[in-house]
């Protein structure tokens, strides 16, 4: 038996979520009294692979076949299922992000496994296997029993603390069988941001709403993000207006994020916006309207003009850091 973790790298470096996942998986392995195996697909150095061992991976399977340079759902599904069979995995863990959402349901069907999508903590029990997940876009939670022998889980990002848990982390090259017929998509172009913090992976996010009045005022948001090492986000009307790019829109119909700190400036706090950020640990709201619904969900609030408050916040944080 084992718990198999699907990791993701970003230009050869593991994403923060992958360390979260390995930490999480090794805890489940402890509950089941078994070992943790991490699967890595892509070009990752041995040293970086070994980092997974620090967070609880007993073994690391590394696939470097170039045909996997781009995500091809059927081909990846087959590799993961082969790895799971080889390691007799009884639990498979993915991140609840773009890649995890693309692969976990396919893998679940292929392995006759029940899927627990978007879990936010360790299973409440392993007999029966009961998971906890958000439902109704964060307005409630559900306890769900997975009845099958093999279980597939996707873990909400930022919902489990990375822990140090040094294990062997032996790296093993894995050469799965590859079916050429699985490669049906051709990548024609890639536009990737580099050097910027990825919104869904960010620990701190600074976000602006319609109350920021216009694209010309975003300097303050960017400056605050800069001093905090944060990513920037926005509400839907802001991206609809074209003040900010669409990939920054958070909410029910945009990105769903769960950072440690979310600073909402000039955002009213509509239920659809909150649905995208309800997993945030600490939410700060800056709004001129003391009755804005955002204050019902915020941990800290300032009633005031964001255009005035943000620069003062920047100054305060600079002072703190110096």
């Amino acid at each position: 038996m084992s718990v198999l973790v699907f990791t993701e790298n970003w230009d050869g470096k593991f994403k923060k979520s992958s360390f979260e996942l390995v930490s999480y998986a090794s805890k489940i392995a402890e509950m089941l009294n078994t070992s943790t195996v991490a699967l890595s697909i892509g070009n990752v150095t041995e040293d970086e692979l070994k980092n997974l061992g620090k967070h609880g991976a007993d073994k690391i399977l590394s696939v470097t076949d170039e045909r996997f340079n781009y995500l091809e759902n059927q081909a990846y599904t087959s590799v993961i299922a082969q790895a799971a069979a080889k390691e007799s995995a009884s639990v498979l863990v993915f991140a609840n992000n773009n890649m995890g959402k693309a692969l976990a349901p396919r893998v679940a069907v292929k392995m006759n496994a029940g899927l627990g999508a978007g879990v936010d903590q360790l299973p409440k029990s392993t007999e029966p296997f009961t998971i906890h997940k958000k439902v109704y876009s964060g307005n409630a939670f559900g306890n769900v029993i997975i009845k099958t022998d093999v279980k597939v889980l996707t873990l909400m990002q930022n919902s489990f603390m990375i822990v140090e848990n040094q294990k062997d982390g032996a790296v093993e090259t894995f050469a799965p069988e590859v079916n050429e017929a699985h490669f049906k998509t051709k990548v024609k172009d890639v536009a990737k941001q580099t050097g910027q913090i990825i919104l869904t992976d960010a620990e701190i996010v600074v976000s602006g709403g319609r109350g920021m009045k216009g694209a010309e005022n975003w300097g303050a948001i960017e400056e605050l993000a800069e001093v905090l090492g944060a990513a920037t986000a926005c509400s839907r009307p802001v991206s609809d207006e074209g003040w900010r790019p669409h990939n920054e829109h958070t909410g029910q119909t945009g990105k769903i994020i769960a950072p440690n700190l979310y600073i909402a400036a000039g955002i009213s706090g509509a239920i659809q916006h909150i649905a995208g950020v309800s997993g945030t640990k600490c939410l700060v709201a800056i709004n001129t309207d003391k009755d804005a619904p955002i204050f019902e969900v915020a941990d800290y609030g300032i009633v005031g003009d964001a255009l005035k408050v943000l620069p003062e916040l920047v100054a305060g944080i600079k002072e703190l850091k110096s």
């Binding site: 759902n73 998509t185 919104l199 905090l228 700190l261 800290y300 305060g316």
Partner: protein, 249 residues
Amino acid sequence: MKILICLSNVPDTTTKIKFTDDNTKFDETGVQWVINPWDELALTRALELKEDAGANVEKVTVINVGLANTEPTIRKALAIGADDAIRVNAEPKDAFFVASQIANAIKDQGFDIIINGIESSDFNGSAVGGMLAEMLDLPSVSAVSAMKVENGAIVIDREIDGGKEVLSIETPFLAVVQKGIALEPRIAAMRGIMMARKKPLTIIEAVDVQAMTDFVAYEMPQPKPPCKMVDADNVKDLVNLLHNEAKVI
């Protein structure tokens, strides 16, 4: 080309979520049911493609797994412009159950593109699309934010963390779509509503499939402590609180 849209029937996004029967059942009292927002955008995009002569779409079908009470939602999709509809007569038990029902209902129908929304706003599973693709042994592309037909070829934008990829793919395939696929959901016009009544809605009996998961109990989020207010003249206090109390900076 024939396009299929999988529709989920969900509570309106502003619904106050409540449960009954000792927190084991969703309280449907007074709930307005709507087409899941992403499925509505998927339908909108499919109709736009149908109107584009170059795309060569002959038919847009919608399918829902649900009991008779989901028919108003299905009719709404027909009113917006879908050509016909299928309802698999069963209470949706879990994603695996729903995907199995859809796979069975459409397996011989030769759809060229099957589109699912990224998640349904009730169980947030993001699962039916991927499961269905695996069951039908179809290629799938997830996180799709644009879909076009260029000189007869399908061109797709796929969101990746911090960017996007442009892909081409041959039919048949399944797409799981999200933000960007269409700008605003299309609204049914009076004429559409009238026509929807006459459009075909086929009812298919469910096949015997066991769900793989059981919802045992719901929980409401813990009531959170009230928001701590900081005076706008003392922004530094906020910095201190974030540093010393919340320990997030």
